[in-house]
């Protein structure tokens, strides 16, 4: 009979955090601040501090100032962003704690830029929005990792965690493998925090790191999912380079010279919405494409984006180099010159459905989720993909908020009861995890492309209808049947096989939840149910495993207990 030691390297920790990006680091640091004696271990698929998205994004973080009014913030969000599917209590907490979280980040080595009066420098995405974007540099996670080490947080890099170990109903550890040597790694822990991101389907350059392994691990451990129908974020991209075209949503023109954006967003709105993507789709199908963004009229690109780059706001050496190089290469390769730039929808998805409570506890005892893994599952943002959830800067904001929120509860859980991993369970999981290495079969990149083919079409994932989604789901289920044939030749591609499997699972979650919501709300647009239906669908949609099947259920949003009601 196997022992844990016979399966591979065995690690122990009070608290295991999977993922060393901003959320995982915020949680690790907060855990040590909660209890300096707690033993915290952070595992990262590559290298903690370098991974994740926070150090490759805009370098802005949302915060509320008392002058903005928290009531104004919640009111604006509920009416203009999440359409009453927000957990309004959590949204209010997020706003209230945002200013303090800026100061926390600063105390952890993150450079928050301040004015002469000591106030955080900021910009607003739109002038009337009751929230602010502070700026920070892209070395934030490296500085946080350095700070975490000083506090005694332990790190192990290049370890890919695939599954969770359970003692009865309680999570008591995790199992995976080394990305370089392929050796099995077993972790015994009092509690586990998943901080390894959401599901982006790896289509967009740069933003493609998140493969959803944490979501899949949580699902296999029995965790409920929520808000999966909103995992369909689309960014506008230049057609030739696939580089993001900020602000295109307001200045889309067809070949007749008509501004098609104005039909659906006559005034400036808070960020990209799905309805202009539908306009794009209809126009292209009608033969009025390619659709161009008129860059001469692009308010966001011309007024807001440059504000981040002006020395008078903040000189951010790492961010400036990053954007200068990446955008510079794309611009140099651009084949179209002049203000009218052909654009197209680029799938980011941002499926983030792990259901969590206000302390970021999942429905499985001993298991927590933070950051992009659970943004939609927390229901903070409502009927939108998150991040950004039509609120730029909320990715870093929610990662910090959820990491800080989670730490005391996760430490308490880790201290309360240490389960004992079962060697036979671990042995069976190890066999499943490593199975692709012994096969000849489907290569992971082929599976990834096949999932992209089912998630990227606007008519499937963005402009939904029952018949098209059933067609898409059939394709997903056909791919699911091929998962047991995935084959890998080394640890890198073994990880890729598990990412591909996670993508298939994510796509199934998305379409199953979307089929049930027979209304249109936020980013969930149904051609066959074009109206919002508060009578039937002021509800959160949950997914749970039921003997291997994905069971869908609806749960009332407790609006009667909230300050704002439809």
């Amino acid at each position: 009979m196997a022992t844990l030691d016979s399966l591979g390297t065995v690690l122990t920790a009070d608290l295991l955090i999977v993922g060393g990006g901003i959320a995982g680091l915020a949680c690790a640091i907060s855990a040590k601040e909660t209890d300096p004696d707690v033993d915290v271990l952070v595992l990262d698929k590559v290298v903690a501090g370098w991974g994740g998205k926070a150090n490759k994004g805009g370098g802005n973080i949302v915060f509320m100032d008392p002058a903005d009014g928290i009531d104004n913030f919640v009111d604006f969000h509920v009416h203009n962003v999440g359409e009453f599917l927000e957990d309004q209590e959590l949204l209010r907490d997020f706003g209230n704690e945002s200013r303090g979280n800026l100061e926390r980040l600063e105390s952890w080595g993150v450079h928050i830029y301040r004015d002469d009066a000591g106030e955080p420098k900021y910009v607003r995405w739109l002038p009337e929005q009751p929230w602010r974007l502070a700026v920070l540099d892209q070395d934030l996670t490296l500085n946080m990792a350095k700070h975490a080490r000083k506090l005694g947080v332990r790190f192990m890099d290049r370890v890919e965690i695939i599954d969770l170990l359970k003692d009865g109903e309680r999570v008591c550890g995790a199992i995976g493998f080394g990305m370089v040597d392929g050796a099995c790694v077993v972790v015994q822990a009092g509690a586990v925090v998943l901080a390894n991101g959401n599901q982006c389907y790896k289509l967009m350059p740069r933003w493609s790191s998140a493969g959803g392994e944490g979501i899949a691990a949580a699902w296999r451990a029995g965790a409920a999912m929520r808000g999966a129908e909103f995992g369909n974020f689309i960014n506008w991209v230049f057609a030739d380079t696939k580089e993001v075209c900020q602000g295109a949503e307001d200045v889309l023109y067809n070949t007749k010279g008509e501004n098609i954006s104005k039909r659906v967003r006559p005034t400036l709105e808070s960020d990209v919405a799905s309805k202009e993507v539908v306009e794009w789709w209809n126009e292209v199908k009608a033969g009025n494409g390619p659709i161009c963004a008129n860059m001469a009229e692009n308010y966001v690109n011309n007024e807001i984006v440059p504000a981040f780059h002006e020395d008078k706001l903040a000189v951010r050496p790492v961010s400036m180099k990053f954007w200068g190089l990446t955008i510079g290469k794309a611009m140099a390769a651009s084949t179209v010159h002049g203000p009218m730039q052909p654009v197209m929808p680029g799938l980011n998805a941002e499926l983030s459905p792990i259901k969590v409570d206000h302390q970021m506890a999942t429905t499985v005892p001993g298991l927590f989720a933070i950051g992009d893994a659970c943004y939609a599952g927390a229901c903070l943002a409502g009927a939108v993909p998150a991040p950004p959830g039509r609120m730029r800067g909320s990715g870093l904001g929610f990662a910090t908020f959820s990491g800080v929120r989670c730490a005391p509860a996760a430490v308490a859980a880790a201290r309360a009861a240490a389960g004992q991993p079962d060697a036979a369970q671990a042995e069976a999981l190890k066999a499943r995890i490593f199975a692709p290495l012994g096969r000849t079969g489907m290569a992971a990149p082929d599976m990834v492309r096949a999932v992209q083919d089912v998630m990227a079409p606007v008519g499937y994932a963005l402009y939904k209808s029952a018949d098209r989604m059933e067609e898409a789901l059939d394709k997903v289920l056909a791919l699911k049947a091929q998962v047991p044939t995935l084959a890998a030749g080394d640890p890198h591609y073994l990880a890729a096989c598990h990412v591909a499997e996670s993508m298939v699972l994510g796509a199934e979650m998305f379409y199953r939840a979307s089929l049930v919501r027979e209304e249109s709300r936020g980013w969930h647009l149904r051609e066959d149910f074009p109206q919002r239906d508060d009578a039937k669908f002021l509800k959160w949609i949950e997914l749970r495993d039921a003997d291997g099947e994905m069971a869908v259920s609806l749960h009332d949003v407790p609006v009667d207990t909230y300050s704002l009601r439809p």
């Binding site: 698929k45 590559v46 290298v47 370098w50 991974g51 994740g52 150090n55 490759k56 890099d157 990305m179 370089v180 289509l203 350059p205 740069r206 493609s208 790191s209 030739d240 380079t241 696939k242 789709w281 292209v284 199908k285 790492v318 180099k321 990053f322 190089l325 990446t326 290469k329 794309a330 390769a333 197209m344 929808p345 799938l347 990149p445 492309r449 992209q452 083919d453 990227a456 079409p457 606007v458 008519g459 890198h492 990880a495």
Partner: protein
Amino acid sequence: MNAIQIDRDRCSGCQTCYDACFVDVYRWDAEADQPIIAYPEDCVECNKCELECPEECIRVVPDFPGIYWPEVV
């Protein structure tokens, strides 16, 4: 596929590129103390290896036309 060019005469063997790559493109040749471009097909042109190289001896050449893009209409 993106190309990653390394001027190996100038490489100091600091491993920054190996650490900075978040999609596991690199492996490390301990004997030669040099990076190995093991999985260039997975490069997503974040450019971090190029940006962070203290010797400035790495260049990422994105293959924009080669980006796989499904039919979206």
